[in-house]
Amino acid sequence: MFGAITKAYGALKSIAVGLGITGRAVFQEQSTVIYPMAEVKNLGHYRGHIELVGSDADPARPRCVACGQCMDMCPSGCITVETAMAPAELKTNAFIRAESIMGQLTPAAHFDVMIGEREPKRFVLDYSACSLCGQCVRNCPAGALRFSTHAYFLSRDRADFVLDLKERLAGQAEQARQAEQARQAEQARQASGSPQAEGGRTHE
């Protein structure tokens, strides 16, 4: 009898404790990001699909030397690089050493690529097959690949996920150029008068 009463008391107490927890949660601060109205802050370390990196001289032209290492490395075969000979004026005498994981197993797989000899005609990424393993970025000898923060990539058509990264790079360079122009115009306007607090968006 006494045992039953203590057991019932314990059960009721646990219910009360549970109600207390949820009851307190009602008045606590909510942990929700009101997403489309407020932006998510930790996108900086999101690694989306890969992008080509523009060369230092011409941001619209990829750094890629079309060695094909990324194509070899990709476990799901989602990268296709079509190679073309680069214009003669870009040709340098520097070499970089391409080394694959496979190369670590068989040392004979090292090979040297001349910078500026070849360039990608098309650099096609089928993002819908990618598993974001990052082997391509890690193994690129020319440092020509990076991860994007393109986190919200969706479409009504499956074919949209096949990206021509070279075209994208050109578009991005154009956008960056326009943004730079706009920024310079703004600076000029600010310098001429009406100083304004600059409220830039922090994340890329």
């Binding site: 039953a4 019932a8 009721l12 219910i15 549970g18 109600l19 927890i21 949820t22 009851g23 949660a25 009602v26 606590q28 601060e29 909510q30 942990s31 929700t32 009101i34």
Partner: protein, 325 residues
């Protein structure tokens, strides 16, 4: 229920009750989702209408416009009769609830029995849904619903009977009148065990979590309403919310003094108590995990039924002693 009641006022009353039940269902769905969100530190429905108030409306209209599917080889009559039967007793159950002195169109001296007997019919509709769907999950859900409601009706009735003994009447108005305005004059304060038993078995009777075994989603897909799409499912939910309100109203009248209150007694006290209990039931759902079936039946037969019997005995003895003194 004499026959000389003018038909028009009867129809008007019925329409008012149905409108109240429908509006109540819509509001309670919103409240439930908001409370669920708040309990988990998220806002709940927010963007559809101000504070998400139009959310249940959108849901209702969407449910109405969904395709209605009758499963092949199901029993058409039972299948579509079940949701209707689950909602039909609702207006009758609202009748004896002491909302307003005038609005209680039929002041039965058996109000409590009326409510309890018609609430019991809900389990029949669950059975019909389970049998009519021609679906194993529905059948199992219906079987659970029966075992659960039939078991928990006993402590529910015994706990209600305790309050009836204390008041000496089955009319909810008279039970209310037998209690005083202050909380320590309420039956729930004088006899907290009865209130507790009544609330627990009320939650079990209305198939709410933590006793929502007839629709346990992790085990039975959606239990007895697995096969119902669109408004078939919507009516079940409307009925469920109506029953929650009714049983909380009964608890408020029996144990919390109903319209009696410290300042300005009146129907608002009753409404406030009823909705406070509904909020408690909703919060319970988002607090406690679902019990296992054997735990459920053990709780009923090994704990609550003996406790209710002992409680009713003790109440009688105390009343006799008080009478003798």
């Amino acid at each position: 229920m004499s026959l000389d009641t003018p038909l028009l006022s009867l129809l008007l009353g019925l329409a008012a009750i149905l409108a109240f039940a429908g509006a109540n269902g819509i509001v309670l769905v919103w409240v439930e989702r908001k409370v669920a969100g708040r309990c988990q530190r998220r806002p709940g429905p927010l963007h559809v209408g101000p504070y998400g108030l139009l959310q249940p409306l959108a849901d209702a209209l969407k449910l109405i416009s969904k395709q209605l599917i009758t499963p092949r080889r199901s029993d058409r009559l039972l299948y579509w009769g079940a949701p209707l039967l689950s909602f039909m007793p609702v207006p009758i159950c609202f009748l004896p609830l002491p909302f307003l002195p005038e609005m209680a169109t039929v002041r039965l001296n058996l109000g409590l029995i009326l409510i309890l007997s018609f609430i019991g019919l809900n389990s029949i509709s669950l059975c019909l849904a389970g049998l009519g769907s021609n679906n194993k999950w529905s059948l199992l859900g219906a079987a659970r619903a029966i075992a659960q409601t039939v078991s928990f009706e006993i402590p529910l009735l015994l706990a209600a009977l305790t309050a009836v003994f204390m008041a000496g009447s089955m009319d909810l108005h008279e039970v209310m009148a037998a209690q005083g305005p202050w909380p320590w004059q309420w039956f729930g304060f004088m006899n907290p065990l009865a209130l507790l038993l009544f609330l627990i078995s009320a939650v079990a009777e209305t198939n709410r979590a933590p006793f929502d075994l007839p629709e346990a989603e992790s085990e039975l897909t959606a239990g007895f309403h697995t096969e119902y799409s669109g408004m078939g499912f919507g009516i079940f939910f409307l009925a469920e919310y109506a029953y929650i309100l009714i049983i909380c109203g009964v608890a408020a009248a029996l144990f919390l003094g109903g319209q009696q209150g410290p300042v300005a007694p009146g129907p608002w006290w009753f409404l406030a108590k009823m909705y406070a209990l509904v909020l408690l039931v909703i919060q319970l759902r988002w607090t406690l995990p679902r019990v296992r079936f054997d735990q459920l039946l053990n709780l009923c037969w090994r704990w609550m039924t003996p406790a209710a019997l002992l409680n009713i005995l003790a109440t009688m003895l105390v009343m006799l002693a008080l009478k003798g003194a």
